[in-house]
Amino acid sequence: MQTTQPRRPGELVFTILMALGSLFLLWSAYGISGFEALSAPGAIPMVTAATMLICALMILRDTLRRSPVTSEKLERDILPLPVVVTIAMITAYALLLKPLGFVPTSFVFLAVMIRYLARCTLPRALLLSVVIVAVIYLVFRLVFTVLMPAGIVPEAEIIAWVKALFAGKGN
């Protein structure tokens, strides 16, 4: 089990959290049905949580034995800015999806992310976002019939208008 790789930044904290989390889960699993019977609903959860705890303690022992890596930094190699920004953007997306709706939220998300990650010009990022959102919307809304929050966009009216337009053409 012992590995020779040096300990990465944050690894010790993560391993301690895993061990504490496993201990908490074992306590919760014990609360399901205690040691009532081997076939009780809490039996497998207890074995599972106990396995996690034993493994987490073994990993912790191994992590403590390894020397920390000197060439890596937490803010550069574990949680670099693009990762933090992306997590924040996904959270913001989830928060804004219902009030704003799928189309505007996705457009803003893509435009900001493409501009930030690809470092392209703003008009290019906006244009790409429009095209991608249009394709995703057409494929998933019409082909996969996925219902997404309409939000501020009067989607039903637009679809009805497009349908009426085509119906009119057909006449």
């Binding site: 399901i32 497998i44 990762v83 996969f144």
Partner: protein, 498 residues
């Protein structure tokens, strides 16, 4: 006659045929583009197709799986970046060929041998799965329990750098799978008194988080790596070249099928073992291995495509997934109300033969698409990752939301995505987590059946296990995996070697 009718379903239905073709085409690109994985694509796709009929949903997913396993070889050859883990061995000889200006030839031979390997795996599936299903009907609950443990252990031991981390990940998956109301006694498990957890954690949210978001976050570390430009020459390989490597291809296809059929192993391991086999049986390669040997392309590519058919054998006959992708496919079958396992073959043989036929068609489409449109393909693969990643993330979010139109699933997905990212960073394999979630119910139900049938006695259960040849083999294998990873095992073998 019924078999023939089921085999003809996807062939005679233009919609299904089109979906298999579309899936295979998309799969080649998904498999080829570094940062996109088949597991990721299939997990996102489940959320979009769960309202479909089962045949079209499966047709699309099977196409993506088959195309994706092959597609990984493209970027392995062109850019020395395997698009999928199953193509790691392909890069060893594929990229040196591309450097010599022979990328077209390499892609051509890889396409043809992948097709051959794919058919051998599908043939094995059609031949052996019905036999295994007949045998599996006689399995006892303890055998299923042991098979579930074995599957998780094998994935845990083979997919990461440490067995302990693999077991931790597998146990975590089983724990996640137990969240909610116990289906037998309606007791709450790991719900912490919250209503949101009573119906359990959304499997699709866990899956998209672990394979979509966490992979996307990992890719951010290398987001600005520039793509290498390539030139493509002749593509379709000559018949003498194919004939020359056919014997090796047949051997490695068999290896791929067997390894793919073992619970917990998949195309990536099959490809590496096949490559190793090729280096040992090829006495005088025209070009040394690692410098552009055709044998080094034939072996892994036949094996990983043969492993696709092989992986469906335990999945359809025992309900045990072969690897992460088949674990997700099992999830898809569950979502569509099917129950993979020996009874599927008895109750719905049409489903089995449909899958065989769809795999065969996907294999043919793989050959067609593989030998055409390579120049356009090269352009698409050169798309910067910085533009692809936001789209992948957006699709993941939409996918998680679409399952039950619930924002809670998006938060779960994000939570598991961030958690999966840290697990990956610190060397924990994610495959066992998904396998654990999928197998949790099978393990729990069969453990309880087994122990109740032995009057709640562990001693009786052990006696029963030792008295049955099948249970004994499974039990011994589980013990062997444990022991083989202990320092004691290493000491014994070092002493023997000394």
């Amino acid at each position: 006659m019924d078999v023939l009718q089921s085999l003809l379903i996807p062939i005679l239905n233009p919609e299904l045929l089109g979906l298999i073709a579309l899936g295979t085409f998309a799969g080649i690109y998904v498999g080829a583009i570094p940062g996109l994985s088949v597991t990721m694509a299939v997990s996102i796709l489940i959320s979009f197709t769960f309202s479909w009929e089962v045949y079209p949903a499966l047709a699309l997913m099977i196409g993506i799986y088959m195309g994706g396993v092959y597609g990984g070889s493209r970027t392995a050859i062109l850019l020395n970046i395997p698009g999928a883990p199953a193509a790691i061995a392909t890069a060893l000889d594929g990229y040196p060929l591309a450097q010599k200006g022979l990328a077209g030839e390499a892609i051509g031979i890889v396409t043809v041998v992948s097709f051959i390997g794919g058919f051998i795996g599908i043939f094995a599936l059609a031949l052996f799965a019905p036999l295994l299903a007949d045998f599996a009907i006689r399995f006892q609950p303890r055998d299923y329990m042991l098979l579930a443990v074995l599957g998780i252990l094998l994935v845990g031991s083979l997919s990461g750098d440490s067995l302990v981390k693999g077991i931790f990940a597998g146990a975590l998956g089983i724990g996640l799978g137990s969240v909610g109301m116990d289906p037998l006694t309606y007791t709450e498990r790991f719900t912490f008194g919250t209503d949101a957890l009573r119906s359990g954690v959304s499997f699709v949210a866990v899956m998209i988080g672990m394979f979509g978001i966490s992979e996307g976050l990992m890719q951010l570390h290398t987001v600005n790596t520039a793509a290498v430009k390539q030139k493509i020459g002749r593509i379709i390989p000559s018949w003498p070249l194919v004939r020359k490597h056919l014997p090796l291809g047949l051997q490695t296809s068999s290896i791929g099928t067997v390894i793919g059929a073992l619970p917990g192993t998949g195309g990536d391991i099959a490809a590496l073992i096949a490559y190793d086999h090729a280096t040992r049986v090829t006495r005088n390669p025209e070009v040394p291995f690692g410098k552009g040997a055709i044998e080094g392309l034939v072996a892994p590519e036949t094996a990983n495509n043969a492993a696709v058919g092989g992986a469906f054998i335990p999945m359809l006959t025992l309900g045990i997934p072969g690897d992460a992708v088949t674990a997700i496919m099992i999830g898809a079958l569950f979502i569509h109300g099917l129950n993979p396992g020996p009874m599927l073959m008895v109750e719905q043989p049409d489903m089995f033969w449909f899958i065989v036929s769809a795999l065969g068609l996907a294999n043919v489409f793989m050959l067609i698409f593989g030998l055409t449109g390579i120049k356009i393909f090269v352009k698409i693969v050169e798309l910067p990752r910085a533009m692809l990643l936001p789209v992948i993330l957006l699709l993941s979010i939409v996918g998680a939301y679409a399952v039950s139109n619930s924002l809670a699933d998006v938060y779960w997905m994000l939570g598991f995505g961030v958690f999966g990212y840290f697990l990956k960073l610190y060397g924990y394999p994610l495959g066992p987590v998904i396998l654990g979630v999928i197998l949790s119910r099978l393990l729990d139900d069969n453990w309880r059946r087994a122990i109740i049938s032995e009057q709640e006695s562990l001693w009786m259960l052990l006696k029963g296990t030792l008295a049955s040849p099948l249970s004994l083999v499974l039990f011994a294998t589980v013990i062997l995996i444990f022991v083989s990873k202990t320092p004691l095992w290493g000491m014994i073998f070092r002493k023997k070697a000394g």
